[in-house]
Every structure is written in C-alpha cells, then in structure tokens.
Symmetry: C2
Subunit: 452 residues, 2 copies
C-alpha cells in the first residue's frame, strides 16, 4: 500500500506519460486556461513617454518662476490624444508673442518631441485643473489659445517615461500558469492577441450502486455524481456525468469498454464499488479490461480503498485512459478527488503543486463557527485535540478563520466521518495531517487547503 | 463627492430598486449560481440506521465472550445492500443450530430489524476483514454460511444511527449563497433536485477611445476590454464585450441608446472618457440620454473620476439600466470594478458583503516575492511605509504571503500607479486603506482582498 507521497510520485510519472496536446485561443477566451509556454514582453512599455494626466505638456524649467502673482503664459500649439503619433514641434518661444509653446495632451497620449537641437524639451505635464485658459487678445494673436501656469513644475511631473512599466524580455506569464484576469491585462498590454494553452482535460464520471439506479427497491439519491461533477467543473475541467452503473460485472465492463473505445476522455472516474464488499465489482471489471493498476488502496484517511489504473483501448493500440476508482462514502470520495485526482490533473496540465496555508489548529467551538473575527487566545494550547493513525496521511474538514490579528486559525471538526455530510457542509477547508504525525495538539501549525 | 462608504450605500439602495428575477435549475446546473431562498432538510439523515462498513450486522452483546480461542459463531441469515428496504428477521438463535443470526451488510445499507419483542436487536457491524467465513458442516446444515467473531463488539460499533447527520429542519443552504460543490453534495443528500437561483446578471462592456479603434493613426491595444470581460466572467456573470466606442458624442449616444432599447443588460460598463479631458465625452452622452447620475467622482484612489448612473429606456417606460463609467487607466479601472461594480452585483444578487483577510503590512522586498515561506520577523516594524490621502479610501496592489508561522503578511508595492501594469501583474491581492488613515507603518494590520 503506497503512502500518500508515493502515490503522488506515481501520479506524476503517469501524468508525464500522457501530456495533453495544446491549442491556440484568442486572448479573450484564455481565462482560466493553462498556458503551455512562457510569454515575455516583446518590447518595453509604454513605447513612448506618455502623459499620466489630462493637461498640457510643456517645459518644466520654463515654469521655474511661476506663481499666482507672476503666472507664466504658454501658447497651445496643438493637441495630442492617446494613440496619436508624437507631434514634433519647436520648443522655442513663438517669435510673435515671445511665449513658450505647450501642447494639450490627454492621459496616455505621447509627449510631443521638440525639434532636434532645441534647448526646451517637453518634459512635464501640468494638470488641466491647475491652469487658466486664455484666448488671444492684445499683443497675442486672436484665435490662439493660451494657458497660465501659476506653480513651478518638476521635470517629468505627470510624465510616464517610455519603458517605465514592462521592459523588453520581462516574463509576463510563466508556462503552466492558470490565466487569470491580471494575466489577460498584461498580455494585452504587451500586444499578445492569442495564447497557446493546454487542451481542456475531459473527464467522464460514473456513480456505481444498484441503490442509485432508477428501479432500485428503495430509491437512494446519488450524492457523489453531482458533487464530483460540480468540483471538476469548478476546476475548469470539461466533464460529462455518464450515469449510474449497476452492480453487475458485465454491465460495468461493457459500459467502460464503450467509453474507452470512443477515446473521448482523458480520465474516467467512478465512485463506489472499490472496497472489499460483495458488490464491489470495480476491481474485477478492471481486470477484465486488462487494466494496469498503478495502485489500489493507499495510506490515507479517508479514501484508502481508492484505486488508480490505466486502461488500454479495447482491441486496439490506442492511448491508455486514466481511471480513478474512488470510494463511495461522500467525504472519502471528496478527499480522494481533491488530493489525488486534482494533483493528477494539475500535473497533466504542467501546473506547479499548490502551496497550503499554514494555520494554528484549534478545538472546534460552535459559537465561533459563524464569527470570523474572534480573539486569538492561547488558552487550551497544548491540549490533545485528536489522535491520527501515524501510518497514514489524514485529511479532515475544518473551519478556517480570517483572524483580526492577522493570524490564521483553523478549527478541527471532531464530529466527522466519511459518510457524514453535515460537518463537511459546515467546513470551508481541508486540514492535512501528514503521515508520521500522531497526536494533534491545540496550537500546532497545520497545512490548510481552502475550500470556500 | 461621496466617500467610498457613501457610494456603497448608494449602490445598495439602487440595487434594491431592481432585484433580478429568479429561475429554477436542476441541481447539477446550480454550481456558482446564487440561491434565492433558504433550503432546509425536509427530513433527518440517514433515514435509517445504516452500516458504516462492509461486514455483518449482529447483536453486540452476543459477542461479549468472543476471543480467538472461544470464537462466537453466527448464522448468515441474509444480505442487505445499500438501498434495500430494512429486512425484518428474528434476532433469536436458530432452533436448529443454536447460533445467533447475523446479516451480511454493505456500507450504507439499512440495519436489519429484529422482530418486535426480540431481546437481541441487530446493533453493531463486524467488519468483513475481522471474521472467518465458514460453510455449513457437522451439526450445521450444509449450504448455510456462518461467520466466526473473535473479538467483542460494542453496541453501535460501525453503525450510523438514523438522524445522526442532518436533522429535519437543519439549514442546508442560506439565501444569497453562491452554491459551491459542498452545497450540491448536501442538497443531494437531503433530496433536493432543483434549486431556485437568481437569474444570471447580464453585463455589456464598452471600451472608449479613438486610439483603440481599428482605424486609429497609431493603433493602441485595448487593455480594459479584455480585462473587465475576464473579471466579470470569472465572477460568473454573463458578459458581452460590445466593442470600442469612438470619442464622438453622437456615436456614443446612439450606441448606448440602441443597447438600452434592447433592454438586454442589467448593467452597462464603459472604460475611459469619464474624466475632464477634451475627449471625455461619457458625462455629456449620459446627459443626452436623460441619465440619473447617482455619483460622478468618488473619494477613492485610484478610480476617483468614475461614475454610476441609471439610464432610462429611451422613449419608453421600461426599467432603468445601471451604468458604470469607469476610468481609463487600467489599474484604476480594475480597482473601480472590484470595489464598486462587484459590490453592486453582489447586492443585486442578495449576497452578503465579503469579509477581508487581516494581514500585517510589510515593506516590499523583491527577494521575498517568489518565496511564500519566509520568516515573519518584526525588524522594521513601526517605520513609515507610505502616506495616503486622509480623505480617500485607497486600494493598492499587494503581495500576500501564506506564512509558515500561521501569520499573514502582505507587502505593499511602492512602485505603483494607475497606468502601471507590471506591478499589478506581480500582485496577488488588493490592500484597502480606509479613509481617515494617513500614515501607513510597517507592522500595521490591514484589510486584504485576495486576487489569486
């Protein structure tokens, strides 16, 4: 019986045997897909010096003596909107009015360039709100616009320098990244219009058990089918629920065989029927299908009867299909799905392993259940909370708190069991207690995986 | 100019004016939908005493003297699979063989019931692995099966008592819950087959700006359109990206008007064009459309130029459409979307406000960026990190750490700006610094909203 870590190693090896193909999707369809390769910025951004404000681009040094009583007047020589090619004009004073030029400029627009050799570059932007606009009169030609600046500007004020955001070659998205909105923002910013992503993993899900089938003597609602399907969908996996398999060996074999022949699924999952009971027919069905069983039974709790196999395509030299035979108890099945199937999918997709939250484990108090902001006191620290089998990795539902003092607490639910759904419903995380840890004391630091 | 909290109050009031209708969906399609009402368990679960193991149901007291040298033999009187109606048999010893009966029982199957008046109820299950199975020979009728128990059992061992999980009337899902897989598990367990959920919110998204349009002199890639669309999709909102609006007042008015006439959207969002620049034409367009502006400009940073309005249906007495005019700077737009549009959607859907993580704020260190498991030292605590405008709520990108000592740290990114995308890409959360807080010191506790 492999340990949990050994099982993860086996899953890793098997995932590497069957890397999924890739496809190219438009950027707008890349959300939550897994990038196949690394994306780097092909250029520095912004490409040009741009304005951070709506206002007027001008030469900062020319405003040095500006004050409300001695305003500096600039002639508005043009307008630049975002996306306009940089205007090239002389930065020297107009010959007619002896005032310096400025350029009306919108947020994101390029700074105008002064003619080569000019001593007065456009190097700052005065905000729209900070100037008075004048129209030409007296010695200034009418029809022209002017602004008055009443406060000195610093060089580069409200100016975003070219290359001040991404540099050419900066990594924007690493290979194996689940593409989130901020990656889409960054890819758009560096001009990426389509993304090479891992093809969507396709999973077929069966429930097993006569009691679930339509003509059962005492109809029992299928719980695992809807739960497993929902989890996989939530993980952005393409999933088909394939129905309930009766506890009849021939039916199981022929149903699985027909799904294998179609070669439609990367993974087939069943729940129930993997243990040692008289109606646990999955292992025998797999034998009939010439399965290569990678492991059957594993040193975890709950979920230990589960199995992982590779099934050959019947009567053909096609690719193998991964098969997870999960236990029938709902919480055992949930743990197996979360801690064995999901890691397999992540490895198939080239993702890095997840990192856990670290939290301080506490005794479960019902009155804390609904109150996220409790005092983190250390009363009770050191008292025994639970004893775990030392030879197994244990996964327990817990209640995780965002704590007011920036500490993380997690409460261990003691009234639990692989068939008990109410405590699992009331939980919002899994607590992972690794093999080798037996006594769990209040105040111990544990690994927590959110399930909110 | 309203404060952030005042704006939230205005959004709440407006959301209550237009509650979305509901629809009923099959349980398997309820993932990530928002429940309209509360669901309670209509009965207690399990409905019957059931077995927690594959094994044999028997009377625990009859095993009192069992040991390897003095095994107790039971006659296997029948088999119960999950879903079978409870078998009623006599718990008294067989007349022929003077052995007590037992019933082969599968995990989840009902316990057999003893005939009324019998002193020997079936009240425990011995695990399959813990017995020897005998076939009839000698004084025991051949063809019958027997088991030998070698260890005493406790009453209720491996027996799940009826009502031991959900009680009748227990709340399974509260109104306004985003339905997650564990809710689906619990609803299935209590027999719920369809769920009344809030109709999916429908949002139309425009970008604005001549620089983004196909015939721009110097083509600029639209960043906000893809980002906003991706975020809304990630929040399970039904979203259409409606394209880029040129900075031409008539076009804006006619485009918006045609979308309003269709009455297809609960919310229309635009990015850009809401500030005071010459091409900021959204406010004027709204005026032409007889908009009721709820707020324009708000005391937040970034994102202050944004607006929220309700637009009447043109030339008709239809319902108003909500309109968010978001700023054009990508990070300002992202903050406005996250902290104003999302709360409006949540209120429309009847969800409770989110709760933040509390984390200790730290100075940004580049070497910590990629290392989630760092020591939480207090060097530098008390040193000034940043000064925020005291009259505004400030939202800043941050880097959040799962800390090995069950403490949460968040690093403030100092090199930031509403137009800088690289720092936002490198962040995994928002830090919210409320109005009234000016100086931010290392070691302060702040509110953090994950953005992973």
């Amino acid at each position: 019986m492999p340990s949990y870590n050994e099982a993860l190693d086996l899953l890793t090896t098997e995932a590497q045997l069957a890397p999924p193909t890739t496809e190219t999707v438009p950027l707008c369809d890349a959300l939550n897909r897994i990038s196949k390769c690394e994306y780097r910025s092909p250029f520095s951004t912004p490409k040009h010096d741009t304005s951070a404000m709506d206002g007027y681009a001008l030469n900062a040094a020319a405003t040095r003596t500006a004050s409300p009583s001695t305003p500096i007047v600039f002639h508005v020589a043009g307008t630049m909107a975002a996306g306009d090619a940089a205007m090239v004009i002389s930065g020297e004073p107009d010959s007619d009015a002896s005032v310096y030029p400025c350029v009306e400029i919108m947020t994101g627009a390029c700074f105008p360039e002064a003619i080569e050799g000019d001593q007065r570059p456009f190097d700052a932007c005065v905000k729209l709100e900070d100037v008075d606009v004048l129209v030409g009169r007296g010695e200034r030609p009418s029809g022209n616009r002017y602004i008055q600046v009443v406060k000195p500007l610093d060089a580069n004020q409200n100016r975003r320098l070219a290359g001040g955001d991404f540099s050419e070659g900066d990594i924007v998205v690493e290979a194996g990244t689940r593409i989130q909105p901020r990656h889409i923002m960054a890819l758009a910013a560096v001009g990426v219009k389509e993304v090479e992503v891992v093809r969507r993993i396709k999973v077929g899900v069966f429930s097993t058990g006569n009691e679930l089938s339509a003509d059962a003597r005492s109809r029992v609602q299928d719980i695992n089918g809807p739960y497993v399907t929902a989890c996989l969908r939530d993980w952005c996996i393409d999933v088909d629920f394939l129905g309930v398999l009766d506890d009849v060996a021939e039916t199981m074999v022929s149903e699985l065989e027909s799904r294998l022949r179609g070669n439609k699924y990367d993974i087939i999952i069943s729940t129930g029927g993997v243990s040692t009971g008289r109606f646990d027919l999955i292992p025998a069905a797999l034998e009939d299908l010439f399965a290569r069983v990678v492991f059957h039974k594993i040193a975890i709790r709950p979920g230990h009867p589960g199995l992982f196999a590779k099934l050959p395509m019947p009567d053909a030299n096609g690719p193998e299909t991964a098969f997870f035979g999960m236990p029938g108890n709902p919480v055992a099945s949930a743990a197996f799905l979360r801690f064995l199937v999901l890691p397999y999918v992540q490895r198939l997709q080239g993702q890095s392993p997840e990192s856990a939250f670290k939290a301080t484990i506490r005794r479960y108090h019902n009155d804390l259940e609904t109150n996220g902001a409790i005092k983190h006191d250390t009363n009770g620290f050191g008292s025994l909370l639970s004893t775990c089998p030392v030879d197994k990795d244990v996964f327990r539902p817990g209640v995780f708190h965002r704590h007011e003092a920036s500490k993380l607490d997690v409460m261990l639910i003691n009234d639990h069991g692989p068939g008990k759904i109410k405590p699992f419903l009331g939980s919002n995380c899994w607590i992972h207690i690794p093999q080798g840890k037996s006594d769990l004391y209040e105040g111990d630091i544990v690994d927590v995986f959110l399930n909110e």
